[in-house]
Symmetry: D2
Subunit: 329 residues, 4 copies
């Protein structure tokens, strides 16, 4: 349930306010150089700090606990852990009776019988994506020369990201955004015709990222409004290069050698400072809730590196299945 | 690769112009009533015939080969097969050197080294969804009283489906569409926080359906333009009923008891009668191609029942994982 | 549940007295030559006919339904089916109330609630191994130049197989046997340190074969009586050749390049002509049962080719995981 | 590869001389009481100390890092780690050129290209079974009232265990042993007819334990010498109680409600103090090796609790598949 992948397999674990979070990676080739510093760039991109992000700061220093020897992967399971250092759990005690709108509080208490660690979202917290980003750093190394680039192309319905953030700060209301991800230098032939189409596996992974509510490949939802004569990409050469890329680099579920392109929709952060209504299970009434805690106004700001990592993890697995990555690198 | 599910597991097989297609279902509870006639309604909805659908007619009579005894499932693997009876394979021989734009011809030849059965798309054909629909009939029985309803809400960018089809017929060009799917009476608690979120598993399955290029849950891409105070659904009662349903029935990856709502984007059928350009691998030149064969002008017309089946299959598996369906019914 | 393998994946289905049995193979490389005649030798070895085998004769003609095109595998799922032609189901009706000792009748009725197809053991029948043998024929091609050889080395506690069979025929009582299997030319490095050790995966598969009750690798149970100085195999060369082979070709769960050697214990056939006692669920009393039907006196006689097939299937999967077999052959 | 189970899933990680070892458990029901002290009894049984066990002493204090809140499981992944505190890694540096007979040194260097952590067997070390024992403690709680009992019934070919150990100490040679495991109060109906037979899954797991070279169920290898009329267990009652238990509690791969009985063969510890011959890859000659390090003379002494844990893990998963254990306990 918390594991993804068929050969390159990652398992995430941890809680927002417990001792920490992390990732366990199995199926990793032996001989891949890996040191502490490799993680800094991507973890830094995920880290809070910019305007619109949470005041909770975590250093996120990765501990390479197992699976590395002499700065090289051994082929055994790789364990990376991150400590939680900056938690204010008392903010959450009062929320037990009043599930926060938009959050997993209500479903978690039903699914796990009230035994879940509710502090800061517990195991549902986006803090778990720290492990994803760490695994992504490794996956990016494996899939070289494939290059992945994700960016926020719209926030709060606006292409001017900075203005949107400023407005959100002013209104003390959260906003969502759209992230576009592109990957180039992909080999032809990744993916399978049906259940393990590249779209299937990527979408599976992307909806693992908290707050993602939509995904589209190539022309996506716009394709539904096009004619076949417009949408079909003319093939120009024996290596499959196409004139346009409405397909987003995938035909019949299989990579076609053109750039992989997809976009994901991120909803506005559920936690807002404004007062909200919700059901109080103790009193049996609908009451007013003011969510405390420290939160992102626009979680989409920190998400591009998570989307890149998630993409890299999927591609690493697909490439290993197609024997495009060796077991000993 | 051609198998989906963790407990309720389906495997599809077959080719468009081979001897037939089918589905093998494992993990099916014992004691479920099942007869030939159960399949007629849904297979009929998938069958061609209406304006805008392919002139290739297949009777699609399901053969219940294994796993049923005295009109009840036995708990052993259930095998359902469909014969291909109406094939015109010679239409495809000339296509070998000229991969059809939008189709899997090019990627299939690269992935399978030219050994693939190329006739009518071979194993990539949407004809394989016959098996999905059959499995869906069974899944729908299992998940009762959950009810699923999918419908085409837009074709060719137009909410008036009939007018859009008439125009496509007139222009001899294909069109796409948008399908909305809703499921009610779902138990609370299906799905997992990350990799097996309900959105992840449903999206995985939906992108298995040929021509699907996008999916969104609840407000979906529109959510990216909303504020948190607008998007958050106010919880009204102890059973989790919400005032609005922007979340589409899912919080934190878990069903919340409200209606499940998602939409998928279907691209226009790749096969069109109009002349197109493509690369001829024999001559090494870009040449003009006229696609023969018999095709749907709007494959989205026949897709709602496939989407329903795919949804039912996913929900059956999730409900078995949560022990909401017994092993002996 | 009825599927085995991670990349080279086989699913078996069918019943002893239903319409037939078969196997669905996924993950098969494209381009492998495959024709009807390829199966004859191994299916012939499994077929009944010799003294001590069942009088029920089945032609076992394999139908290659899907996944083959122009006598070559396509890379799509391969479906092979066998019809049942020689069934005498009425023999089994009277058994419903009196579970046969040694058989699965009792557990099947409990597990599947009485909905199981009980005729001839239904889905529990050794007839299902026809599909295994067919899959083994393909796996043997894939793993070339690995060679597998299994033989019956003991029957009824006696190394003189013929005498043991004659005695069993005379006594009209069934006997068991021991099969030894050897595989040579194996690459070094198959398997994993713990859960997917070569012993783990082979044992998993071998206990899928009906009537198998024990397995040992190399010196096996005798090793438990040896000293380390006796059991350790001295390494003689850089390619890992050892002086002795007490380890049976496996160290730490990984193939070491020496011959793979294991033995399996097969219990005597449960069906015997002699009268037996069993509980009658209708009368609530222990009563005398005379098992009708047609059976093997020594099922171990027909098992070596099943053991070879099972071994080949396991090795094909392990070799694909280690990228020792290409996706397009 | 380092993960086992379908619903109750465990992943082990770590190295003998790295920072530690551990286990990650997913699919665990919520609400199970779990504290540090729960582990002491079983970890104590695994710990070295008795005559014939290694002089390397490890405290093996379990750290419950994630998945527990207020001394109850949360339903999120449970992480348990153990530090390595007592390592003497320099003992192993000289072994790099001379693979130890019976050990995984040679295969590890081939499989992982020399990048493996070779100190103390690295990831191949039996120290990894600490994680198994910890997972077993939890599994035993889940499967209650099923009770598992494993014991060493033979060491060095001798039923008098103490005398065998004394002799081994005297000779400074290692010995193997046979462990018998019994489980009672099992529900009827666990397991599947073929690939996931109870024997298959248990054997898969047992061969994950280092040094295991054989397994047999019920009469096992002796069954191969019996007649059907001797081996068949007469069914005595409607709950399946049998007069004898030659089947070891399993028919057709399914538990029949009688006691589960199996035996495993453990080879003598590969590390011995005596001089041995092996190939020196640096010199290209066969040379004399004296294995330093600290080792068990009879690893079978410490193995029963590991076998119990492994059995409990398998049964917990099978029982969850059959819905015999709830998702919230």
């Amino acid at each position: 349930m918390n594991t993804f992948g068929r050969i390159f397999r990652i398992s995430i674990f941890g809680e927002s306010h417990g001792s920490g979070v992390g990732v366990l990676i199995d199926g990793l080739p032996a001989g891949l150089p890996l040191i502490f510093n490799d993680f800094e760039t991507d973890l830094g991109r995920r880290r809070a700090g910019a305007k619109g992000t949470t005041p909770r700061k975590e250093a996120d220093l990765p501990k390479l606990i197992n699976g590395v020897f002499n700065d090289l992967t051994t082929g055994a399971p790789l364990m990376i852990q991150f400590e939680n250092t900056n938690t204010r759990s008392k903010d959450y005690d009062k929320l037990r009776d009043m599930p926060r709108p938009g959050h997993a509080d209500f479903v978690a208490s039903k699914k796990f019988g009230g035994f879940e660690d509710y502090r800061g979202g517990g195991h549902f917290s986006a803090r778990l994506t720290t492990g994803l980003v760490a695994a992504g750093v490794i996956a990016k190394k494996l899939i070289f020369p494939v290059e992945i680039n994700a960016k926020l192309i719209e926030a709060g319905g606006n292409a001017d990201i900075e203005a949107a953030i400023n407005k959100a700060v002013e209104e003390q209301d959260s906003i969502g955004g759209i992230i576009e991800c592109r990957a180039k230098n992909l080999p032809i032939g990744l993916g399978e015709p049906f259940f393990d189409s590249v779209e299937s596996v990527l979408a599976h992974m992307m909806f693992s990222i908290p707050a993602v509510k939509g995904i589209e490949f190539g022309s996506g939802f716009l394709a539904a409004k096009m004619k076949g004569s417009q949408h079909n990409d003319v093939i120009l050469s024996k290596d499959g290069k196409t004139k346009t890329n409405h397909a987003g680099g995938i035909n019949g579920g299989i990579t076609n050698g053109n750039e992989l392109v997809f976009r994901i929709a991120i909803k506005p952060t559920s936690s807002i400072s404004k007062e909200q209504q919700t059901f109080n299970v103790a009193t049996g009434k609908i009451e007013t809730l003011k969510v405390e805690g420290r939160h992102d106004l626009c979680v989409a700001l920190r998400a591009p590196v998570v989307v890149e990592a998630a993409t890299a993890i999927v591609l690493a697995d697909l490439m290993m299945l197609e024997q495009k990555i060796k077991r000993i690198v």
